[in-house]
Symmetry: C2
Subunit: 369 residues, 2 copies
């Protein structure tokens, strides 16, 4: 059994599939690719049982075969060959020989029976979204996915199909981010929670092209260019996040986005290690931002120009959480919507993109004085 | 006591001095800069006791003062301020206030008495070398500096002043590298051993401009642009390296540099973890390179075109050591000078730069079978 393929072409394919190969696993079979050659088409599979990547390509083959090949070794060899034709030849039930103009490389392979079965997701109820829109939704929201699995759903991203649009929700209980894509509207309200790791893999795969996706009860399937990505869903109900979002935050503080971000970055240098507190003292047209590190005997105070429509107020935030939110807003101006020093603050870009809505909810921290 | 300085100017100065500040140290005083303001000149010092960095700059100051300021905090603050005038004002015997247009930053400082004394090196017997020549000498040789301190001298780089030129020598007992700069010749033969860490700091500081340097019995001093760098020398006699270098290796193997490097990189993928052996089977105009990983049941064999003037020979090398040497040769062609499978191999670029001489000595390993 023989087939031929260009090394650059195979490298490109394998580079897209290898992210699903686990780096460390007690199940050594997962460290392999499944190669399935049928009727002149090579399909490569990789899975870590949580998620799977699949892609196909045409090859010049004289027969059909399924075999399990060491993923990292094969990828590294193919990558090291530059641009050349590689001739694969099955030599025995466990050996395959790769031949190029100057070299011969023998690799062991395993029978395919032990390779895990990849979950099937029916290709129905298709949703299509522009690659750039999906990337932006992930970039806005993914950083606030929870790290602790006390509530498993919070370690993933909620996809909510609704008549308002497709909603992307994340929260780690200190912050909650809601991004709505209003180009897509749905009659049926449906909720699916995708694990964080799947989101980070998807972020690497998404191009400018359209992405199609499908959900079953237990899995999501994404088609991105010539790649199929399947991820298990988190089997846990997402928290009722709407009850956390304040309906009216009447005090509005408008700030220059670059200025406030630069200021908060400086405050991080002065906020004590275990507290990381920055204080906003807000008056009409003046925001005083301050932080103090009692242990090192240092402190900082800055005045920023602002537009503020409301009562004078003092409110404290975690500098790191605030910085992360500000880092993710590309607008020139940012609006903080406030109610009181103990109630959730809503941060929004002053001019959201058309057909999009993004809000960052940040819980204040109690000021210590 | 007050002084003013532009933040960008101070940032540039501090960025060059901060490499001498240790990241972790039981002596917390070393985590600081010494600021010495005298007659309108600010000199900043940092040291980890092994090496020191010093630089000066003019400032608008109304008095003289010495003070010890937290290095990382100060550097991060100055860096975060963008481009602005910073007004430093001493507020008490332990507090200094930095003021900009929008902000005020209070920092604690320490008295200067506890700051270590920086070693003095007499500025005599000056040597001047082009920055690019010194960089190249370090880049050729520094990777082979020994990691184990059984012989302390081998954890440094030998500077040898001789009538042949200025010699730069490193060895880790598996490899020995000798680089000679023949532009500089000396009547007195002198040897100084500089620690590896000092070399890596110097590599970051060297520009295209000339470097001046001076040695005392215990320290080296380098002047690079407006920076002074002082390093302790290693107080241990360097091994008599000349006795290791074979006088005649009569068999010469000439190879294309890119081809042999690419081939060796592939062999690394196939050489077993604890042996890392690559086999050269050399005949006239043909080099067979091979490696074998018995544990994973994989092996590789390649044929490279070569020019070989000598008896057919088999010789084994450590793939990693060989790759590191080949990585450091920029020529189009490389010559391996061989005697037998158990004797040191000499690797040289086929066309060395004018007034330079570089050789890489690599010990072979015993072929297992």
């Amino acid at each position: 059994m023989e087939f031929k393929i260009n090394s650059k072409v195979l490298e490109k394919l394998l580079s897209k599939i290898i992210p699903a190969v686990p780096v460390r696993t007690p199940m050594s079979i997962l460290e392999n690719f499944l190669f399935d050659i049928q009727d002149g088409s090579l399909t490569v599979y990789a899975t870590d049982l949580e998620m799977s990547l699949i892609s196909s390509i045409n090859v010049a083959a004289d027969d059909n075969i399924k075999m399990v090949l060491p993923a990292k070794l094969l990828y590294e060899i193919i990558r090291s060959l530059g641009d050349t034709l590689v001739h694969f030849k099955v030599e025995s039930s466990s050996k395959i020989k790769l031949t190029t103009d100057n070299g011969e490389y023998d690799i062991s392979y395993l029978p395919h029976d032990d390779f895990p079965i990849i979950p099937k997701v029916p290709v129905e109820n298709e949703t299509t979204i522009a690659g750039d829109d999906l990337r932006r939704a992930f970039e806005y929201t993914s950083f606030a996915i929870g790290k602790e699995d006390v509530r498993p759903a919070m370690t993933g991203m909620l996809f909510e199909f609704s008549d308002e649009g497709l909603k992307f929700i994340t929260t780690d209980s200190h912050r909650l981010i809601k991004h709505i894509n209003k180009n897509l509207k749905f009659d049926d309200n449906q909720q699916y929670v995708i694990p964080e790791k799947a989101i980070s893999i998807l972020l690497k795969l998404i191009s400018h092209n359209d992405v199609k996706f499908y959900f079953s009860n237990s899995n999501a399937l994404f088609k991105i260019d010539d790649i199929t990505f399947i991820s298990r869903l988190i089997n846990d109900k997402y928290p009722a996040y709407n009850s956390v979002i304040p309906l009216v935050n009447e005090n509005k503080l408008k700030l220059d986005a670059k200025e406030i971000l630069a200021s908060v970055k400086r405050m991080i240098l002065f906020s004590i290690a275990d507290n990381k507190q920055v204080r906003f003292s807000i008056e009409t047209n003046d925001l005083e931002i301050s932080a103090e590190d009692n242990e090192r005997g240092s402190k900082a105070k800055e005045h920023l120009h602002c537009e503020y429509d409301g009562e004078p107020m003092e409110i404290g935030f975690n500098t790191i959480y605030l910085q992360e939110i500000l880092n993710h807003i590309e607008d020139d101006e940012i609006i903080f919507k406030l109610h009181s020093s103990t109630k959730a603050c809503i941060i929004v870009p002053s001019q959201p993109k058309e057909n999009e809505d993004t809000m960052f909810l940040l819980m204040p921290i109690r000021l210590n004085n």
